[in-house]
């Protein structure tokens, strides 16, 4: 089972594949350091540019960006109290007070070492857990695959929190977009309205760029952020090897935060920000000096950063094995895999072991590279990124979006379609409709339809074929649990808490 993992290692060390991870990590830190830009957006913009690349080069870039951006978010969080990414909110609690005390450099070093630790732990979890899970999922037939798709959609809608009606609307929209084009079995047109460009369906990249890249650009231009200018001389940075001994007491926090981050990453719907908050709260609760937290406690930065990086690779465990992404970035990465003809799910491990296991190694090396690239020298340079003019950045991203989408098929029709999705994405974003269910709906919609129709054919049209084996019934039960669970929790556990608080 794990021999494929070792077999994939030499490919990862080829110059192009390794360079891709290095470039990815640097780009990720840059993107993460820019408030308003996120790993999700960066990968969405990047995906169309990877068409002509080897799959491992493309995936290496994505793995690097994901790892780098999670740390990059800490730079403005520490220096300006503005989280570069949503996952870096908890980093501001102690990072910014440290910067005010003249310890900004040390805060960033704690952040980079903790991020690397979390990333390495997460990559190991992916390597250890994904292969055996993929063996189990290989046994799935059409009805089980259909229920896995339904379970995935239900998980991301109901576990994401927020309004389930909005989550369901997002998912229905995504599934509807997936059926545009030729019918997979009969070949008749569905909702193409005579447009030849629509016959092959809507390319996922067009949707990804529209939903995830256009709204942040509008935000960048809507509220230009004025940064007061960060000077590297004020960071108080010393070489990272001198700072490492000061971090030797953080082992427990790193281990606990890694465990929390990995677990949150595996759960569909939860994300890096939740992991960082949970890890921060747990570390503070168990600290001998909780009163110093919030006033510049370096362990607080360690707790938040280790957890938000520990959910990166682990979010890909359900994504790669079942086709269910744990986070929005993982959903976008699934899109990246599809672009290279790699269908996430059980078959991926059987048909493309070198690529999928190579991708896992790239996550591990990306996390290790964080220490070198995000270490003391780079930290000063990356801090200066905050002084880049945001309107100029916005205009450059607009150009990159157009190039990326146009390059898919070499036609402007796709660009107009992307703008349409962008407008829809902006409205959804403002009205708090979750975006991941749209992407997952598009990925799983066609997949679910094909397997549903196949299962019905096997069962000669009898819908009971979907409930005739134990695995299907377990998946149905899990789906019901995911749908009913949050409301039961709200009704009983949260109510009990309120009653206890009132009584106390």
């Amino acid at each position: 089972m794990y021999s494929d993992l070792l077999h994939a290692l030499p490919d990862v060390f080829s110059l192009a594949n390794f360079a891709a991870v290095v470039i990815g990590v640097i780009s990720g830190i840059v993107v993460g350091a820019m408030p308003g830009l996120s790993a999700t957006m960066a990968i969405s913009v990047l995906v169309p540019f990877t068409f002509g690349l080897e799959p491992l080069v493309a995936l290496g870039l994505m793995a690097g960006i994901y790892n780098g951006a999670m740390y990059g978010g800490a730079i403005p969080a520490v220096l300006l109290r503005i989280p570069g990414t949503p996952a870096a909110v908890a980093t501001t609690f102690d990072g910014y007070p440290m910067a005010q005390k003249g310890e900004g450099g040390f805060a960033l070093q704690v952040a980079v070492v903790s991020s690397a630790f979390g990333g390495i732990a997460s990559a190991f979890a992916l390597m250890l857990l994904a292969p055996p899970l993929s063996k189990v999922t290989l046994l799935f037939g059409p009805s089980e695959v259909f229920w896995v798709a339904i379970f995935g959609l239900a998980s991301i809608i109901f576990l994401l929190g927020g309004n389930p009606v909005k989550g369901l609307i997002s998912a229905c929209f995504g599934v509807f977009v997936s059926v545009v084009g030729s019918d997979p079995i009969y070949g008749n047109d569905r909702f193409t309205f005579g447009q030849l460009e629509m016959l092959d369906g809507i390319n996922i990249v067009i949707l990804l760029v529209g939903l995830y890249a256009l709204p942040p650009v509008i935000d960048l231009l809507e509220t230009p952020l004025k940064t007061s200018g960060v000077q590297s001389s004020k960071l108080g940075t010393e070489p990272i090897w001198k700072a490492l001994p000061r971090m030797k007491t953080y082992w427990t926090t790193w281990l606990r935060g890694s465990f929390i981050g990995i677990w949150i990453g595996i759960l569909p719907g939860a994300g890096g920000s939740m992991a960082a908050f949970m890890s921060y709260n747990e570390a503070r609760r168990t600290s001998k000096t909780p009163e110093t937290w919030g006033e510049g406690e370096p362990e607080g930065v360690a707790a938040a950063e280790v957890a938000n990086n520990a959910d990166t690779a682990s979010a890909l465990i359900p994504a790669l094995t079942l086709g269910i992404p744990g986070t929005a970035v993982a959903a976008v990465m699934l899109g990246g895999l599809l672009v290279h003809g790699l269908q996430p799910g059980p078959m991926l491990f059987r048909d493309n072991p070198d690529i999928v296991f190579g991708f896992m190694w790239q996550f591990l090396f990306g996390a290790i590279l964080l220490i070198i690239l995000g270490g003391s020298l780079a930290t000063n340079s990356f801090a200066r990124l905050l002084n880049l003019p945001r309107p100029l950045l916005g205009s450059v991203i607009i150009v990159l979006m157009l190039i990326g989408v146009y390059s898919i098929h070499g036609r402007m029709f796709d660009v107009y379609l992307m703008l349409g999705f962008g407008a829809v994405g902006w409205v959804m974003d403002r009205l708090k409709f979750p975006l991941p269910p749209v992407v997952l709906g598009l990925i799983l919609g066609g997949f679910a339809e094909e397997n549903l129709r196949l299962a019905l054919r096997i069962g000669r049209g009898d819908p009971m074929v979907l409930f005739q084996n134990t695995t299907s019934l377990i998946l149905v039960a899990l789906t019901v649990a995911v749908i009913v669970g949050p409301s039961l929790k709200k009704r009983f556990i949260d109510k009990k808490k309120v009653d206890d608080d009132a009584a106390g």
């Binding site: 009606v165 609307i169 229905c172 929209f173 509807f176 059926v179 509220t223 916005g394 402007m412 407008a423």
Partner: protein, 153 residues
């Protein structure tokens, strides 16, 4: 009961729900001409969208009746409309006038309008971005960008 400032039918969620209902109903019409098995999933999703939007509409109207004010979608609508308008104009200009001319104009124009007004910085950024795109895509990868429909005639 406190009165809501936004007219009840002009609340963003209400307008969105009504929009989804109208569009989904419009898309539902072609499903009647499709084979039953082909129309199964799309029709289910469209009906689902209509039902869910009705729920959203009812919930938003209940909030309005309770006097809860709707959050505005943006604090600076002019900037949002301007940004989106410029992006659409850039796409149209690329299509009709050509990629390089449109890009060379759009980068400084968007940055200038939205607050970055350093002529030298704009010139350098435009030259670097346009030049890099040409070197990587046109020269290195032989990728053709739109030359402009106006000139094709």
């Amino acid at each position: 009961m406190p009165a809501s400032k936004t007219p009840r039918l002009a609340r963003p969620e209400t307008l969105t729900a009504l929009g989804i209902i109208l569009v989904a109903a419009g898309f539902l019409i072609p499903t009647f001409e499709q084979r039953a098995i082909s129309a199964l999933l799309p029709a289910t999703m469209l009906i689902g969208l209509i039902v869910l939007s009705v729920l959203l509409l009812v919930s938003d109207q209940r909030k309005a009746a309770a006097g809860e004010d709707a959050q505005p979608m943006t604090k600076s609508p002019k900037r949002v409309i301007g940004a989106f308008g410029l992006i659409v104009a850039y796409a149209l200009a690329t299509d009709f006038i050509g990629f390089y001319v449109s890009t060379a104009v759009t980068i400084p124009l968007v940055a200038w309008i939205f607050g970055y007004r350093n002529p030298l910085g704009l010139l350098i950024a435009t030259l670097i971005v346009t030049g890099t795109i040409w070197a990587i895509f046109d020269f290195g990868m032989s990728q053709d960008f739109p030359a402009g429909r106006l000139w094709e005639r």
